[in-house]
Symmetry: C2
């Protein structure tokens, strides 16, 4: 007998009949002999409804964070009671708990609280008595007794944290996709569901634009070595298991893929300062005001200096492009730069795979494949298990398909991996 934590997002509990579907999955697991803990989000639309009320109440003010968290927490509280009622109607013994009741202790950073501790004893008693335990996702309580929320994707984090505290055998995240794919199947029809992927790869894929899982939940799962499985709420299937690197995944041998998946990101824009005097500390001078304005920077490239001048390029989220350009233009004179140049017509393509650690030549294979299709690379950035390039946005489909094929990810070509699903929350 093993212990499984199952998490269902807002779409999966949007109506009573969908909640019935969730209840049936939990009961099936229970009948298969497992102890079952179910974590649920607010019913789809409920959080928006509550936010609209808060906006009305607060008017031109921002809603006070402590009260807003308490308000939003009612969304999940409603779901856990309804799911428990449905479970009991279907004949299962069940009990539900809010975050505060399970003592999901967090810090006091309202709207983005971090879990500090969980008291799993209460739940162990229920599980021991044969009950399915239902826990509200997304919420916790701080040391003052104020209700907190964990921020976007918080229910995933709740599920993983509970799985860690209970030393669960598996944490199952039910979504509206049936697993993690080698890339977005809407772009590459031959994309394949991965059976397995490592935490590291999933983290890179998640941060590169995949919305299947929240980064924090994957980090958490990796840290506490909780096997995570992504699977569909709406159809049966094994989904994708996210786990530690095993012997079968480290080598990038012939049987194993060099890379796990290909991610793309349409949300970035490129900003360049051309002809800046290449003095020590120039990067900090350029990026300092950007950081102060709370604009997140992703890729940064500084070209080789030429006659004492250099070009400095970085990418930001498109929503912050205008502000970033404005700040750079203000700085340009002070820094003696020749020109400030921006481009929102770009995308980022990334290859991810633990296999590339031990295998040279991934980058050149990538660049060759793109070159063969006439795709010009504007920026390059690499990490231990990732290579990203920025190209013109018109190459999104062509670039992704080309790389998918170049690295043998196409369906029926062996074991594979992926990214870009729908939302989980």
């Amino acid at each position: 007998m093993s212990l499984i934590v199952q998490k269902f997002g807002g779409s999966s509990v949007a109506t009573i009949s969908r909640i019935e579907n969730v209840a049936k999955k939990a009961i099936a697991s229970r009948e298969a002999g497992h102890d079952v803990v179910v974590v649920v989000s607010a019913m789809k639309g409920e959080t928006d409804r509550l936010m609209a009320l808060a906006d009305d109440a607060a008017g031109s003010n921002n809603p006070s964070p402590r009260e807003l968290d308490l308000l939003l927490s009612t969304g999940e509280t409603v779901t856990i009671t309804l799911l428990t009622m449905v479970l009991e109607r279907l004949g299962a013994a069940a009990r539900c708990y809010t975050g505060a009741q399970v003592q999901i202790l967090t810090d006091s950073a309202f709207s983005k609280a971090r879990i500090q501790d969980i008291d799993a004893e209460l739940l162990r008693d229920d599980l021991g008595a044969g009950r399915i335990v239902v826990v509200a996702g997304f919420q916790g309580v701080d040391e003052n007794g104020s209700i907190t929320t964990l921020g976007r994707g918080g229910s995933d984090t709740t599920a993983v944290a509970l799985a860690a505290a209970l030393e669960a055998d598996e944490c199952q995240i039910y979504t509206d996709v049936d697993g993690v794919y080698t890339t977005d199947p809407r772009v590459v029809p031959t994309a394949r569901r991965l059976e397995k992927i490592t935490f590291e790869e999933m983290l890179e894929l998640a941060s590169l634009g995949s919305k299947v899982l929240q980064i924090r939940a994957v980090e958490f799962a990796g840290k506490y070595q909780v096997p995570l499985r992504v699977l569909s709420s709406f159809e049966d299937g094994p989904g994708t298991l996210i786990t530690m690197e095993g012997d079968d995944m480290t080598q990038g041998s012939m049987e194993e893929p060099l890379i796990a998946g290909i991610a793309f990101n349409r949300d970035e824009a490129k900003v360049t300062m051309i002809g800046v005097p290449d003095t020590p500390g120039i990067a900090a001078q350029i990026l300092g005001p950007i950081a102060q304005a709370n604009i997140e920077v992703d890729m940064i490239v500084q070209n080789i200096s030429n006659e004492g001048l250099t070009d400095f390029t970085f990418t930001v989220n498109k929503t912050e492009y205008d502000r970033a350009m404005q700040i750079l233009q203000q700085q340009a004179n002070a820094l003696g730069a020749r020109e400030v140049f921006g481009d929102t017509g770009i995308i980022k393509l990334s290859l991810v795979g633990v296999g590339m650690r031990s295998h040279a030549g991934v980058a050149s294979r990538m660049f060759n494949a793109l070159a063969a299709e006439g795709i010009n690379i504007q920026m390059i950035s690499t990490s231990e298990i990732k290579i990203s390039v920025v190209v013109d946005e018109k190459y999104l489909e062509l670039g992704t398909r080309t790389l998918h094929k170049a690295f043998d990810l196409d369906e029926k070509s062996g074991k594979t991996v992926s990214v870009e699903g729908q939302q989980t929350e």
Copy 2:
């Protein structure tokens, strides 16, 4: 500086603009130099919405009580956060608490829990810091940490219990009527708002059909000697103060009214067993099965025995009339009764007043006044501060007006008292 607890029901917080109205009243009290604690109910309609979800979820089952209470408690939780946001927008410092957060400790009788203890320290700190404190009505927490609700009118009880715990100077219950009246102004246009009424009188009036205040809240206020004031959410005015008997209210002297108010009740039906052998224990034999069926009995009258036979009459709520008749008919043979007879065409008129304690002749004045109008009295029942009669339902208006006049309660005839308002929850 005094401490005031203010309670607003569901109609008073039905929309954000009504919540603004509540916030302004609280701020006005704060600016007048008082410490202010506000207790609120769920927004009107919200409890019904949640109940409908529970019914859907539970299907043919009853929703499990623990989960249902947790579900319903979210209604008030939403209101407290919104009111706090509005208070802050209007410039007031404020903080809100759920029942569990204030530690309104109750027993575990879900849906009708009783308050056992309140930890007022937390609130004292906030009040000391100049904050308006907003507390969710209707809800508490049991010793296991499960959320409980206090049942119908529970928010009134929360307000009074908080006022008692904080030793508040006054507990103000805002309703959609502007006070307690000598009788229902829709029936007697000359009915007058009372400035003062005693707890005892209010209890009798409440239990006789007034819906202005919940009985439990009045009992609680009386027990802990918390002055209660009923006043209107929607217009300014002093309302009616419910307090201990003072020197000015005990005597029924010329200046003081003999009676506080006149209540009527349309909800009862009369059931009679005719010609029952008058043996010891016969009353218990007749009422035993009624009690076992959980039918509440109000007035009971047993006539003088005549040739060893007696008639036994009692009143029940109209909704339970059919069941009561059925039970009596089943018993009639076994008891050797001649006949079972019922009548739903009755009403009950009641005079209430602490003045009648020390003043004989109230009953005869009442009976004379009714007789003078040709109103036949079918049943009589008396308590220390109340006389009730059952009459034909067609005499509701005439009977009430006649008594109102006979006891000098009409407007401009001196100081007065009343009953039968709208709902408070």
